[in-house]
Symmetry: C2
Subunit: 497 residues, 2 copies
C-alpha cells in the first residue's frame, strides 16, 4: 500500500475534491484550445477563475492545513506519504505567502500586459509594452520578497517553476554551457557538415497525409491513442494530463517544413509518456503529476532530440515519411537526417536548433536576473537583448518583434520559467548517457524497440510522479543533479564528433 | 437591469461558483460521450461524483440558504429576481428532503441496476434485472414520501422532472390522448396512405456525405456552428449547454435509414436553440437554462416533427438530400415526405412515429403510477407490459428486450420522467397552433425563412430561461397549460385530414 498513515489517508481522502477541480480545469484548458466554439471564451474564463479560486479555498481550509501540519510532524512516513506532505506544504506556503491584493494586481496587470504584448509585437512597437513590463517587474519582485529568498530574489521565482532551483544553480549551469556552446556553434558553422538551410524546409505537405505520419510514428514509439490518450490540433502544441488514464497531446499543421509538426508531436509524446507512466497507485493524489517543469522537459527533449533527431530514428521512419510525403522521396535518409538537424544562428528561440537553443535561454536568464535585482528597467532591455544576441548567437535582431518582444512569457508574469527549458535539455542528455549504459540505445532505436526505453523511464523516473523533489530524484537516478557535461558531450559527438 | 435587489445580487454573486461547477460538469459530460479516451472513464466518474457533491455542499451552505430564505420574504422583487429565489428554494428543498443515507443507497442501487439492466437486456433475461427494479421501486417510493405529496406519491416524482406536474395532470392528458390516438392509428393503418415501411429505410449512406446533409440543414435552420455551438458524434444523440454561448449537440451515423440521423440532428437543434436564445442577462445565474424537461422537449419536437417532418420542409431540403445521397434521386419529394412519416405499430418507443409514440408513454406512465402506489411489483411488469402494448398499440413483444427491458430509465431510478416526452409533443403542437396564428408557418418553411420562427420562440419562451415555472410560462404564451387538443388536431389534419 502507498498510503497507510491515518492522517495522510485523511488528507488524500479530502484531496479528492481538489483533484477533481484540477481534473475539470485541465479538461477546460484542453477544450479551450481545441474544440470550444469561439464565443464560449467569456464563460470559460469566468468558470476557470472561479474554480481556481475554489480549489485554493479548499486547500487553505483551516482543517485541511491543520491536517497537513499535523502530518508534517509525524515520524516514520514512507516516501509517498512524505511526498504528499511536502507537495501540499509547499503549495500552502506559496498560496499563503502572496497577499490577495498582490495576486489580484498581478492578475489584472498580466491580463492587460498580454494584450499589450500582442499589439506591441504585431506593430513592432516596444513602447506599447514597456510600461506594463516595468509594472510586472516591480510586482514580481514584490512577489519574490513575499515568497522569501536567501541569496538572490530570483531564487524565489526559480523555485516556483523548479522546486529547489537557485540562482547559483542557474549560473553554474548556464555560464559554462554558454562558453561551450559558443565554441561549438562556431565549429559547426565553420565545418558546414550540418547545413544552415535545407530544401525540405520549403516543401509543402497535405495535412491529411502529415496526420498519418504523426499517427504512425506515435504508434511506433508507443502512444495509446483512443485507449488512454488523444492527438488533436491546436495553434500551439501542448500536453495535458486530465487524469493518469487520460493524457492528451496536440500538434499543428502549418502545411510546410514537415519536421516542425513531426518533432513537435514527438516532443509532446515525451511529456505525455511521463504522465501516462506514473504509478496508478498515486491516482487522485497531489503526487499524480511530473516532478517539475525541468524533469518534464527532460522527457520531451529526450524523445524529440535524442531519439527523434537521431540518424537511427530518421532511418527507421524514412519509409513512413516517403510513403506519405512525396517530396521526401527525392532525398536519401542521410539527407533527411541533415534536414532534421540544420544548425543556424537565428533570432527566434522557438525555431532554434539543438546547438543554439540554450544560448537563447542564457540570454533570457541573464536579463531576468538583472530585472529582478532592479538593476535593469524595461527601457534598457531592447539594447541589452540585441547586444547579448550578438555576443551569444552572433546575430542581431532588426526589429523588436524578432528580439525582445518574441516571447509571451514576461507578459504573463512568468519570470524564472525560461531556465527550465535548458534544464530539460540537460536532463535529456543525462538520460541518454544513463540509458546508453543499460541498453544499446542506437540499436533499440534502429529496431524500433522502444518498450525497454519506456520501461527504463517508467521504473527510474516516471512512476514516482511528484514523490521526490527534482534534485533528489535526479540524484537517485543519475547520482548527481543537473549536470552540463553529458549535454556538451552529446552535442560535440553529434555535431563535430 | 435584471437583478437590482441587494440580497438577490449577493445570491447571484455567490452562485457563480456553483454555476462554474455546473459548467465543468457539462463539459465533462460532453467529453465523456464524444472524445474521452476509453480508460478515462474511472477518473471521470470520480471527478463527476466529487464535483456534484461539492456543488451540493455549496448550495446547502448555511449562509447561502439563509440568503435565499431572506430573499424569499422580500416584497417587490421583479420576475427575474423571483425566479432566482424560486429555483434555488426548490433545489434546496429537494436536496434537504432526501436523507444522505437514502441518496447513497439509491446511487449504489442504480449503479448496479444499470449494469444488471444491460446484462438482462442483452441476454433477454428479466430475472437478472427484477430484484434491482424491486429495490428501486421501494427506494423511489421512500424518496417520494420524503419529498412529500398530497394526492398521490407519483406527484412527488413528476415534480422532480417537471416542476408542478401532478398525477392528476398526467391522467388528464394521457388518458384522453390515448383514446384519440388509438382511433387515429387504426384509421391511418386502414387508409394506408402513410406506408408502414419505406424502401429508403434500407438504403445505406456514406457517413461523410450524411455529415454534409446535417451541416447544410443546420445552416438553413440557423445553428451557429463554430461560433456558439458544435455538432459532434456520440452513441446516443444529446444536447448540452456548457454556457449560453457554448451549446453543443451530437448526432449519430448508423450508415442506413438516413432520416434517423437527420431528424435526430434537427431534434437536438431544437433543444440547443432554446438554450442559445436565453437572455444573456441571465448568464451565470440559476435561470440560465430551460424552464423544464417538457418545455425543452416541446422545442425539440417542434423542430423535429412540426417542421422537420412537414411536406414543405422535405421539399425545401430535397435538393440537399439528392445532392449528397444518391438513393434519394430515385424518389420524388412526396415519396421522401412519406418516408419521413411512416406510421407503424411497433414495439420500440425510440423508433416510434408521431402517431404511436405517445401510446408508448401512456403505457409507461400507467405502470409507473402502479409501481409507486405499491400495487404492482417488478415481477408483475412483463405481463402487464405486454397486455398493455397489445391494448394500446396492437402489437405484443415476443422478448423482454423488446418489451419491458427496452428503456434504461427505470434502472437509473428515473421514475416519473417518461411523461415529459408527451408533454413535449403536446407543447410542440401548441407552438404550431400559436405560431401559425402569427406567421404563415408553411410559407415560412417553404421559403426556408426560419428567422421569424426563431424570433417568435425567443421572444415568447426562450429568453426567459427558467424565470417562470413551466405552467406559468405556458399560460403566458398559450393562455392555457398543457393541452391535448392542438396535438390531436395536428395529427388528424396531417394523417387523416
Amino acid at each position: 500500500m502507498y498510503f497507510q498513515n491515518e492522517v495522510v489517508k485523511e488528507i488524500i481522502e479530502r484531496y479528492r475534491q481538489i483533484w477533481s477541480i484540477g481534473h475539470a480545469l485541465s479538461l477546460m484548458g484542453w477544450d479551450s484550445e481545441t474544440y470550444m466554439p469561439k464565443a464560449g471564451v467569456e464563460e470559460r474564463a469566468i468558470a476557470r477563475a472561479e474554480l481556481s479560486l475554489l480549489a485554493q479555498q479548499l486547500i487553505l481550509k483551516p482543517e485541511f492545513v491543520q491536517l497537513v501540519d499535523k502530518a508534517s510532524g509525524l515520524e516514520g512516513l514512507n516516501d509517498y506519504e512524505k511526498g504528499v506532505v511536502r507537495v501540499l506544504q509547499r503549495e500552502i506556503r506559496i498560496m499563503k505567502a502572496i497577499p490577495p491584493r498582490l495576486l489580484a494586481e498581478l492578475e489584472k496587470t498580466t491580463q492587460e500586459a498580454m494584450h499589450a504584448w500582442r499589439m506591441a509585437k504585431e506593430a513592432n512597437d516596444y513602447e506599447k509594452f514597456k510600461p506594463y513590463l516595468d509594472k510586472i517587474i516591480k510586482l514580481t519582485r514584490e512577489k519574490a520578497d513575499y515568497l522569501g529568498w536567501k541569496e538572490h530574489p530570483y531564487d524565489a521565482l526559480l523555485d516556483l517553476y523548479e522546486e529547489g532551483l537557485t540562482t547559483r544553480d542557474v549560473d553554474g549551469i548556464l555560464e559554462p554551457l554558454a562558453k561551450e556552446l559558443k565554441a561549438l556553434l562556431s565549429s559547426v558553422v565553420h565545418e558546414g557538415r550540418f547545413p544552415q538551410k535545407h530544401p525540405l524546409e520549403d516543401e509543402r505537405y497535405e495535412r491529411e497525409w502529415m496526420e498519418r505520419v504523426n499517427l504512425e510514428v506515435l504508434k511506433i514509439v508507443g502512444f495509446p491513442i483512443g485507449e488512454r490518450s488523444r492527438l488533436d490540433v491546436s495553434a500551439h502544441p501542448f500536453t495535458i494530463s486530465i487524469g493518469l488514464d487520460d493524457v492528451r497531446i496536440t500538434t499543428r499543421y502549418e502545411g510546410f517544413d514537415f519536421k516542425r509538426s513531426l518533432l513537435s508531436t514527438i516532443h509532446e509524446f515525451g511529456h505525455a509518456l511521463y504522465e501516462l507512466q506514473i504509478d496508478p497507485g498515486l491516482k487522485y493524489t497531489p503526487l499524480a503529476e511530473g516532478a517539475s517543469l525541468g524533469v518534464h522537459e527532460g522527457q520531451s527533449r529526450f524523445w524529440e532530440n535524442v531519439i527523434g533527431r537521431s540518424r537511427e530514428f530518421v532511418e527507421l521512419i524514412y519509409p513512413i515519411l516517403r510513403k506519405n510525403l512525396p517530396s521526401v522521396g527525392r532525398f536519401t535518409p542521410e539527407e533527411v537526417y541533415l534536414y532534421f538537424n540544420t544548425v543556424r544562428p537565428s533570432l527566434i528561440r522557438t525555431e532554434a536548433d539543438e546547438v543554439t537553443y540554450n544560448l537563447h535561454i542564457v540570454l533570457r536568464a541573464r536579463l531576468e536576473k538583472l530585472m529582478i535585482e532592479g538593476s535593469v528597467k524595461a527601457g534598457d532591455l531592447p539594447e541589452l537583448w540585441n547586444s547579448l544576441m550578438e555576443e551569444l548567437v552572433g546575430v542581431k535582431p532588426k526589429t523588436y518583434s524578432e528580439g525582445v518582444l518574441q516571447d509571451i512569457h514576461w507578459s504573463m508574469g512568468s519570470i524564472g520559467y525560461f531556465p527550465t527549458y535548458t534544464l530539460g535539455n540537460i536532463i535529456a542528455a543525462q538520460l541518454r548517457y544513463h540509458i546508453e549504459r543499460k541498453l544499446k540505445l542506437s540499436e533499440k532505436i534502429s529496431r524500433g524497440e522502444f518498450e525497454s526505453i519506456r520501461e527504463w523511464l517508467k521504473n527510474m523516473i516516471h512512476r514516482y510522479g511528484r514523490t521526490y523533489p527534482p534534485k533528489e530524484l535526479l540524484r537517485m537516478v543519475f547520482g548527481e543533479e543537473y549536470s552540463v557535461e553529458p549535454l556538451v558531450k552529446y552535442l560535440k559527438e553529434k555535431y563535430v564528433g
